[in-house]
Symmetry: C2
Subunit: 513 residues, 2 copies
Amino acid sequence: MNGAESLVRTLVAGGVDVCFTNPGTSEMHFVAALDRVEGMRCVLGLFEGVVTGAADGYYRMKGTPASTLLHLGPGLANGLANLHNAKKANSGIVNIVGQHATYHIAYNAPLTSDIEGLARPMSAWVRTSPDAKSVAADGAAAIAAAKGAQIATLILPADTAWNEADGIAQVPDENQRASYSAKAVDQAAKLLRNGGASTLLLMTGGALTEHGLDLAGRIAGKTGCKVMTPTSNPRVARGRGRFSIDRIPYVIEQAMPILREFKNIVLVEAGEPVAFFAYPNKPSLLKPQGCEVHRMTSGAENSVAALEALAGALQAQPSDRQPQKLVELVKPTGALTHASIAQAIAMAIPENAIVVDESITTGRGFFPPTAAANPHDWLQNMGGSIGFSTPVATGAAVACPDRKVICMVGDGSAMYTLQSLWTQAREGLNVVTIVFANKIYQILRGEFDGVGAGEPGQRALDMLKLDRPDLDFVALAKGMGVPARAVANVDDFVKALAEAVAEPGPRLIEVQM
Amino acid sequence: MNGAESLVRTLVAGGVDVCFTNPGTSEMHFVAALDRVEGMRCVLGLFEGVVTGAADGYYRMKGTPASTLLHLGPGLANGLANLHNAKKANSGIVNIVGQHATYHIAYNAPLTSDIEGLARPMSAWVRTSPDAKSVAADGAAAIAAAKGAQIATLILPADTAWNEADGIAQVPDENQRASYSAKAVDQAAKLLRNGGASTLLLMTGGALTEHGLDLAGRIAGKTGCKVMTPTSNPRVARGRGRFSIDRIPYVIEQAMPILREFKNIVLVEAGEPVAFFAYPNKPSLLKPQGCEVHRMTSGAENSVAALEALAGALQAQPSDRQPQKLVELVKPTGALTHASIAQAIAMAIPENAIVVDESITTGRGFFPPTAAANPHDWLQNMGGSIGFSTPVATGAAVACPDRKVICMVGDGSAMYTLQSLWTQAREGLNVVTIVFANKIYQILRGEFDGVGAGEPGQRALDMLKLDRPDLDFVALAKGMGVPARAVANVDDFVKALAEAVAEPGPRLIEVQM
């Protein structure tokens, strides 16, 4: 077998059996190997940002890495923004990137570029295979790195793909998620015992499973501490019956009063609360003066086990958890407002759905009402680079074919990686995309105020507004084979949602704000 | 004035008065400054690849750089593929990239990344402004670098934009295109005198103006040498009355027999002929054994002046140039074939049009018949990263509002940066986009054979084909406000072209192959 086949076989044997691809010439031997190797599902994207974002969504739902197949430096470059988001979400991905044959690189052909240089800013692990016999072992090392929740980028010169290899390689012992520090748990227990009401348990990552949240609920009930998450999280178990916790608000002026009451913050995988952006005369650090920050677990540790131990140390029982206040969801009617939209979506979320949220401005109001929705997983953008949600929804749907995916996105964000719709149509993925068409980068209109730039004039507004011409998402979806409709009032929105959720395959709803 | 305003004023004073933008929060002070500074035209793109590609097209037609405005690391990353293409075309661009405020970078907020690391592979000049008072001078240095036909990337931490600056800065003495080496011209003259028929004059870049080509035509007539261009060129003056020269074919098996007859190759800005990709058991270098390569000018020199000197040394007169064979363009009819499509386009090109060519597979046949078309400029992809043409056409149309732009692109390539259409509609740009919808990455189907990967099976074919579902480019164009129609025979194509060329503003034609 050649190097390409040794890699595909190593990937499949190592449990990496989905490949999101946008290949080029230097990857043709990898593509050819797909015909000879059983067990690799390949999913084509029409743009590399779709491919890398899909791998992020796949990892978040599956917990094991997918691979990508990307064409040389510029192909990788097109995928970097969503690799950035994936990196910040601690998602594991194996990127396979083509390269010219080793001896051809020196000739500076048109597609020659510094591929390792491009890969490094968004990858924890980067390697260029030197020859065909190394490819399988390099692939196995990449899988191991990706299983450790890292972005691994393996660069494959074309001759290492077509020359003869020795066979497949075993993936080294899995990078097991470490346990936790008993000392850190003891310290947290002491803090919570002595001053529960003035302590914030700030949780993210692996802690935000249904069970992790339940443990936090018991601890809160027992000690009076507050439990929150950062503004954005890779995945949160939410909905009816689950312990519902608030996020630290994005807006500094809203976050600081909430944090002011705490003397101690215990971090469960989370980072210290910092502002998303800096603004003139506003702080970067959000905690109050004198507040102490203690780390209980990092992203590499087992936070649920640590929470178990913490609950045990505090003798926090299931009965300590305060029952969730039952919010009744009422069918909204009339005009499309942020509140009525949120209510409509909360009612429409089906049991065990996956909600991918990139509705940046509109979306801030969704979190409270959806706490009472059917149980679901909520996925957010961790890196702040827009064009995140439609690819991540695509990958999540590949990972979980039996679950419905709801993708909420603003019109501005949707236009970065809209090619995802074609992949959804091709693969028959169960994704309902809701585009909030407010015809402006509304987040930027807010940030314009936030940075103290004054009132925007016409020339500045032209750089923020998406009118002239209006985007027609129904036509755009149709162009990529996805049935779509536009709604302009909440009754139609409720109907469109019910219809879209009931039907298999992708659907798009344009919400005309 | 603040740092942002000092930069905008420096750009305008330095002759950089067009900015292709896709801004974010860290660039809001730059956007705000636009309201206070006259003379900067800002053009919004919905994706950064549109923005950087447009700057490439602008430079190629205008000869002076535009600027871009990009959001932090991931925003820059989205623009890198077309910066790669621009770099390989020796296009000058001033990239303005936002960054967190200097003091905020340490907090590793979600959008924090290694921006300089991302910029370096595609930029000749990279600098991060340390404070507001440095911004104007750094901007002036970036302009000087870009005027020297380089990609210059200036990274602007938010506090350097909002803090008080000292005023504008002068752009240092323009990086003048150097003259040429008289010795290299003498050597070329000697070669041509002693063995014109066995010498190839291989020209690209600044040599391919109408006048440069005319000089080459005289030299060829006088000495019997052959004049060719590489497979791709940033810009070639073509059409009726101009000296028409062939390109070295892309396919190795076609290129080598043509080059076999030469004992000497004289390079006028061009590189030594190399294969675009490496293939098993095929060479990377295309020249025959024993053929000597001599450089007459590099891209930094004045090739037209060198050609003048060479013609002078050889006493080559206008009368030495062989008159161009008059090819009569005949209106094609019947089925859509590569030949009839090429003929239809050759007939439709209006006087002084700009033709942007990314019709990779289909396009190989266009070059010969369009030699007899109305005089026009022909722009090609120099870096090989697809998604090039629709942005470059956009920027060329901004640079030359009085000229019609014809953009020829395959369906696969079009889907990378289709957002260009919205910018064309917003700005009312005179671009006719022709999408060749053959429903496959046809170039890859050819390359699959080229790399000796055998006959593709179903799984490999699925990674090359763009059917299931078919893309509907008429709907996609409508979704972005561009009138469009699809044609399935050559008579309708001829009609659609005539209509599209006659109307102002953007149009799209989907050619269903």
